[in-house]
Structures are given as C-alpha cells and as structure tokens.
Amino acid sequence: MFEKDLIEQLKQFQEIKPNKDWADWLLSNILLKSHQTVMIKPRVKLVSFSFLRQYQKALVSTALVVLFVSTFAFAQTTLPGNLLYPVKTLTQNAKIVLAPKDYKPVVRMQITKARLEDMAKITDQEQVIALMSQNIQKDLEAIPQELKNIQKKQKTLDISKQVQTEAKDLNNMIARTQLQSQDKEALEKTTQDTQAQVLALIIDTTEEINQCPGFLQDKLANLQKYFTENIQIVAQWSPDEITKIRTFLADISNDIKVGNCLEAMEKIESINQILQIHSLDIKVETSTPEN
C-alpha cells in the first residue's frame, strides 16, 4: 500500500463522531456539576507529594507492618503493668502453642522463667504479681503432663533432663519476687511438686529403658490378660480398631526380633491408650443407672 492511499484511508476516520444526543447530554451534565465539584487550585504549591498516591496501598501496608513490628519489638522489653505487656504475654503464649509437641515442656519452662524474672523486677503492683503467680503455677503444673505425653521414651528422658536443668534457678527467682508470703509459699510448693514429678519421670523412664526387656514382658503379659478377660468386649470393637491393634502387635513382634525394645514399648503404649478409651466406655456403661 502506498503512503498516499494509507493517509487517504486514515482521513476517512474523520467521519467518526459521537452520538449527538449523548454529546449534548454530557455537556449539560458537566455544566450542572460545575458549582458543586469545582476545587480552586492554590496559586503556590510548595511541595507536591501527589506521586505518592500511586503507591498509596503499598505505603499504607508498609507503614502498618513497620508499626506492628516496632510495637511488637518494643513490647518484648516491657514489664508487667505496662500497656504493651499483654502483647508480650501473647507472644510468649504463641511460642508455646507453636513449639513442636515434644519440646513444649522446655519452651514452657523457659517462658515461666522469663515471667518470673519480669515479676521479680516489679515491686508496687501486688494484684498484677498475684495474677502472674497464678498463671505461672498453671504453667508449672502443665509441664509434667506434657512430658508424659511424649511418645518416645528416650525423648521423654532427654526432654525431662532439659526441663530439670532449666528449673534449677526457679527457687532463687521466686525468692526475689515481692509476692505475699502466702502466695510465695504456694508458688514454691508448685515448683517443688513439678521438679519432683519431673525427677520421678526421669527415674521411671531411665528404669524403663534399662529394664526394657523385663517391662516389655510384663506389659505383654498384661495385654494378654486383658484380651483374655475381656474377649466379649473386644468382640464388639470396630473392625478398624481390631486391625489397628493387630498391626501394632505384628510390629511389636518384629521389634522384639530385631532388639528394638523401646520401639516395641512405645507401640504397647499406643495399644494401652486405645484400651484406656474403651475402659472409659465400660466405666460409663456400668455407671449409667438403669431405667
């Protein structure tokens, strides 16, 4: 195509026009808006930040993130009674919740210590101290149960030892707090109970590990006894549960053959947990009054 032809063709576009009614309507509409919407522009504009508008969303989100992070960071340095201390508590609780299940007791003990340290630093807020003391006691009471919930015996032993090490300074810390003597005694008692339970768990677990083959035999004998005595109840179990128990027993057999005593013990514990659930059912059934 020659340039001249092309330009001639382009000229034909000059015929394009908007709908006249629409164009008239638009003009009258714009003029109607005039007095309401017109903004007078200032003569002198010192600094223009109008370019920021296009980054508005990003800037707002960044500002929020910076604000959130700085508040969060600052909150970690606060003491009980400060407005931001609940943020710190919240962070600590989140750490416990998010910790791997087996390491929860260690994390909980570390946070309990941090809270005790905070508590020792404040003097004139009796109510706050008393409330913190109650929460610390609850945390301490939860630790032995969390240790017992760990499936692997060797891990239970290792974690329990870590918790025991962490718990060494607790009494000194409690002594430094400004708690009322009654509250202080209660907290000391809970601490001692927890330490005693952890120690007992360490001893029991060590014994179980050392005497595993003997324990294993006893446990297997107990299991056999349970199944013999409760054969009718077991017959009512769901096929899935029976299959699960059979699989565990087959695995235990294999573990014994290759000398994995602890592994076999853990599977026996899993079977025991299933049995415990059913014994609860039995208890409920037997305790239900007859109509």
């Binding site: 638009l26 003009l27 005039s34």
Partner: protein, 181 residues
Amino acid sequence: MTEQEFSQFYKNNINKVFRFIYLRVDKIETAEDITSQTFLKVWQRQIPVIASDEALSAGRQEFPLISNPTAFVYQVARNQIIDFYRQKNKKPLSLEELKEKGIDLPQKSFISQIELSFEMENLKKALQRIKPAYSEVIIWHYIDDLSTKEIAQILDKNENNVRILLHRALESLKKELNKAV
C-alpha cells in the same frame, strides 16, 4: 472559565477527542466513558481555555494559563486511556464508578453505533496493534489535522522529533497492514 467558554471549547473538540479515544479502545461505550472523564477533568481543573481579557479580569488569573487548550485536552485524554488500560485491567468504568466521579447516568438511553467497513475495521485494529505512541501521532496528525507543532506541545518534544516519530509510525502501520494481508 465561564460556562459559555467551556461550551464553545467542548463543541469544538468533542468530535476529535471522542475519535481519538474511540480509535484507541475497543468499545464505543468505553470511548464515551473516557470522553466524559476527560471533559469533566478539564472543566473541574478550571483552566481558562480561552485566555481572553474578560476571563483574566474576572479574577481567574490565579489559574495557570494554558496556551494550547486543545493540546491540554488531548493530554488528559491520553492519560485517561493509559489509566484505563493500566488500572482498570482493560475493563470500562462501572456505572457506580462513573457516578462517584460526578457523572450522572443518562435518563434516556442513547443508541450509539459506529459502523466501519471491513477495510476500515482492519485499519483500526492495525492502529491498535502498533505502539501507542505511533497510533497517537497518526490520529493527531492525519485524522485530527493537528500540526507537528501542536503534537510537539502535547508530547513535550521538539518538532523534528515529532516528524521522525510520524515517519516511523506510518512505516509501522504499513508493516502491520501488510502482515494482516
């Protein structure tokens, strides 16, 4: 700017501005929406489109004087088209958005229809396929009869650059049409 001044300016430019926008977008409705926004912006900016003595003596000298109002309205239209493709993800403004921008919806419906021959439709498509900078200068110079000086003002370039741009734009359009053939 008085209403009379704006009305005159509007009547002089509505066809050109609408055409410039229509050739850059697909739908006639989109062209109407963008044209509405363009003129509304011009009006809201209170630019003294006609720099008459009367306008200046009426206390509006505080507004920046636009020496070439036609160039200005094209600049606004150009930005509106860019915004349309960039921000609205190629979607026309919704009726609610238009309302928010201060444009009432027409009480009666206008049947807007533009019929192009097959050949012209192809030419329009080719115009849309080449670089936006090329299609702009072609529309301004060959369709809307703007001089290279006026185009230079819109683009804030010198006339020589505009001439080079026009030459390249026409070559590019020819190539695009040959491809289609």
